[in-house]
């Protein structure tokens, strides 16, 4: 029987550890990809393209799949988004492109993410190189942090002809794509291959170098014509409850990182785990724990299902993985014996009447303490900012918003003219995501080019995808002709 036509049925107990950590979605077969691509209507001024933060020309890349021009398809994606392979896997597509697809209404949305992955995989398999380093402009830019924001900025700048050096604290570039996103969503190899493509554009990658420790920021600024700060966020904050330092209480990000860099069989995990938090990281930790083999995984969250920060599809995925949820539950103490975790003491919460802002605050129910027996507690309640680093930037007059670096949204420039920033470290509002970080890198690269050369970016580079202007052909066609159509969309509606 044709294996590839069998629906994937996930029965953890029937699969090996390695199998459980394969990508959740199998790649599309050629036939599936072509059928799906042909379902796309090829909308004009397509809403999916508007919804993509990097404005990939989605109808065009899908059409290219349908005509068998998969190489061209991958190029179309990469022109707008150098992290196309990561984004294809990790983007919350239901909230972005696919959520905006016009077929949402009377059919079902096009599987844009999986088609994107199909094209990117094809180009990787064939080892197609799309871009080269631009003719040298004789100017230097340093990038601090080689996550999606830093890598994208580096790549786009290299295409323009800058000499770019990325400084990265970790052993490998890629930021959270390499170290933070669960392998069954994005394998490490994909993230590393993507970073390699940036290096192949002539970007110098200095890994294992922490700016502020190994090299001082002042030095970097002195040696370069511009600096792009993309340091992301740091570790999970303290919960400030008794027993937090006990053995068996771990930082969720460290837990995930282990599954990315270590052989799966070497990872220590508890059999009964409490995960604290209900955001994306918490869901990832819980589902990883289940796939590692943990029998009981409970998410502890102080508010209700309606307030949880994880996306609905993530919640459903976790439920499908057999994760249980304890909503309206606040941890108050980690209990243990001989310094080892044995339980999590919690209190029940209630949602109070809405306050002026309409928000229902969670308040503890008196005398409702109870203990969840467990041998591991994973903290996943957000990420700290790199406060010392950002404080240092303060010396250059750089402002912050809620602890994040403040930038001008059109250029991603900080208050200091040579310092730009992007990615999670500036995300004071909106969802932190790979694709937003990527777009930040592009915006900064363009602004750096324009500022340092004093010229608008060359035609055909970055333009099409960063400016959502109406069809340039329409504008030019209109400008050129004497006998104009009576009503012109570009003139009247935009």
């Amino acid at each position: 029987m044709a294996e590839h036509y069998k629906p994937v049925k996930y029965k953890a107990w029937e699969m090996s550890l390695e199998e459980r950590f394969q990508e959740v979605f199998p790649p599309l077969s050629e036939r599936e990809a072509v059928l799906e691509a042909n379902r796309c209507l090829y909308c004009y001024d397509a809403p999916c393209m508007v919804a993509c933060p990097t404005h990939i020309d989605i109808p065009t890349f899908i059409r290219k799949i349908s005509t068998g021009n998969v190489t061209g398809s991958a190029r179309t994606i990469m022109e707008a988004n150098l992290m196309g392979a990561s984004c294809a896997r990790v983007c919350p597509v239901q909230e972005l492109c696919e959520g905006a697809c016009v077929l949402e209404h009377d059919e079902k949305p096009i599987m844009i993410g999986r088609l994107q992955r199909y094209a990117m995989d094809y180009a990787d398999e064939k080892k197609i190189k799309f871009f080269n380093k631009g003719k040298s402009l004789g100017m230097k830019v340093a990038i601090v942090g080689a996550g999606p924001a830093g890598l994208t900025c580096a790549g786009e700048l290299a295409k323009f002809g800058f000499d770019v050096t990325c400084y990265e604290r970790k052993m490998w570039p890629g930021g959270l794509s390499t170290y933070g996103i669960v392998v069954f969503r994005e394998p490490v190899e994909v993230a590393r291959a993507e970073a390699k493509k940036i290096e192949d554009l002539g970007v110098t990658m200095k890994t294992g170098v922490t700016i502020g420790e190994d090299i001082q920021f002042d030095q970097l600024l002195k040696d370069n014509d511009a600096v792009f700060v993309s340091i992301g966020l740091g570790s999970v904050p303290h919960m400030d409850i008794p027993g937090e330092d006990m053995e068996g209480v771990v930082d969720g990000l460290d837990f995930i990182e282990e599954t990315k860099v270590k052989p799966l069989s070497d990872i220590k995990y508890g059999n009964r785990i409490c995960v604290i938090g209900a955001g994306n990281t918490a869901i990832d930790c819980a589902t990883i724990a289940r796939r590692l083999g943990s029998e009981r995984v409970t998410m502890i969250y102080r508010r209700s299902e309606a307030e949880m920060p994880a996306y609905h599809f993530e919640y459903q995925f976790a439920l499908g993985e057999g994760v249980s949820f304890s909503f309206l539950t606040q941890p108050v103490e980690v209990l243990g014996k001989d310094g080892r975790v044995e339980g999590l003491k919690c209190v029940r919460m209630d949602l109070a009447e809405p306050d002026e802002s309409g928000r229902r605050v969670a308040v503890p129910v008196p005398n409702s303490e109870f203990v969840v027996p467990c041998d591991m507690v994973i903290k996943a309640i957000g990420q700290l900012k790199h406060t010392p680093f950002i404080a240092k930037l303060g010396e250059y007059g750089i402002k912050t918003v809620k602890g994040y670096i403040a930038v001008d949204g059109k250029t991603n420039r900080t208050a200091h003219e040579k310092i730009f920033a992007g990615g999670d470290c500036i995300r004071s509002k909106g969802e932190a995501s790979t694709v937003m970080a990527t777009q930040d890198g592009k915006i900064a690269a363009r602004a750096i080019y324009e500022q340092l050369t004093g010229k608008p970016i060359p035609e055909g580079t970055l333009k099409k995808s960063t400016d959502m202007t109406i069809d340039p052909a329409m504008e030019k066609g209109y400008a050129l002709c004497e006998h104009k159509p009576r009503v012109h969309a570009a003139v009247t509606t935009k």
């Binding site: 029987m1 059409r63 290219k64 190029r75 052909a473 066609g477 002709c481 004497e482 159509p485």
Partner: protein
Amino acid sequence: MADLSIDFNGIKSPNPFWLASAPPSNSGYQVQKAFEAGWGGAVWKTVGAPVLNVCNRYGTIDYKGRKIIGLNNVELISDRPLEVNLKEMAEAKRNFPNHAVIASVMVESKKEAWQEIIKRIEDTGVDGFELNFGCPHGMSERGMGSAMGQVPEYTCMVTEWVMEVATRPVIVKLTPNVTDIVQPARAAVKAKASALSLINTINSIMGVDLDSFEIKPNVGGKGGHGGYAGPAVKPIALHLLSSVASDPEYQQSRIPISGMGGVETWQDAVEFMLLGATSVQVCTAVMHFGFRIVDDMIDGMSNWMDERGFKNCTDFIGKSLPRISSFGDFDLGFQSVARIDHNKCIQCNLCFIACNDTAHQCIDLKDMKLTDEVTERLWPVVREEDCVGCALCASVCPVDDCITMTEIDTGRPHITWNQLIKEKPEVLQWDKMIEYREKNHIHIH
């Protein structure tokens, strides 16, 4: 990167993709916007005799959820004043000197009328002309369009009139609504036309409404034949193109052909070019999706050329033409049989029923014990000795590469029909034919 530019008997174009003479090339705005989008050339919507159009002038056929596999129209030639068209042609050519701007023309069958309009258009600076001898509706009733194209003598005569005055290349556009397209093609060659283009639209009626009994498309309660185009006509267009392109008399003239009829993707375009077209024209696909489709046409074709090491279009134009042959010259000893890959088979049994009901009953459903499921379904299995290699099962199979037609050697003599009846004319009698088959172990049950 591959060089897509072409030289079409003196008409230069940055790529082989042209808008066909039709609504997309109706005005200066459209043609210039199309050039901006990447089109290499445009054959202007036919200008000439004064006309008035009707509403509901297009009818389309959808196929199982996919829109517009075919489009028909009862549209006439340009209904904009000639003066305006000429002005805009001049403007487009001025703004896009390196693109191909070609004027399509149709007037009544009078020498003065043709010669006068050609001279007037020449002043606009266009790169060439296309003579519309193909419009199958409205104009033909007035003695123009296909009424001329269907009579080789008229085609020749009018082309000669034009050639007398034209100083730029003249393309003769042929109608498919004839028994043998080679005849009008030869007529154009005889008149020293600079190039040919084909096909114009095919006579058609799109359908009938089951509730109102109206004809589709419905023009105020009435309907009539219109010209059919779009993806559905491509095989017909390819055939007509290859008949002309492989005609020895045409080949002697060495003039180029602009191919069209159902071109929607770069792959379609490559096929037309492999069969001898130097440029391709597109109408319906542009009407469906807009000028932007040219982006993938250019990209896809140049990637395809790069992958194969073709530097210029001339490296592959006409490359498949030598393979165009006819039944009498096919190898009767070429044998293939259907082979099913049971690792891929999804057991829909469409192959079985197709072969059983409509081919040669040589697929059996058998208990093969290929899985260890108790409820294992029966598997389709080809009895190769009975398979005539018709390829129907492979055509209906929904799984890619599941049924392959595999060439085998059965020891049948490699001989063509033409050779056979020359060597053994007696096989034209059934009894002798049976004798010949027995001798050569050809068993057809």
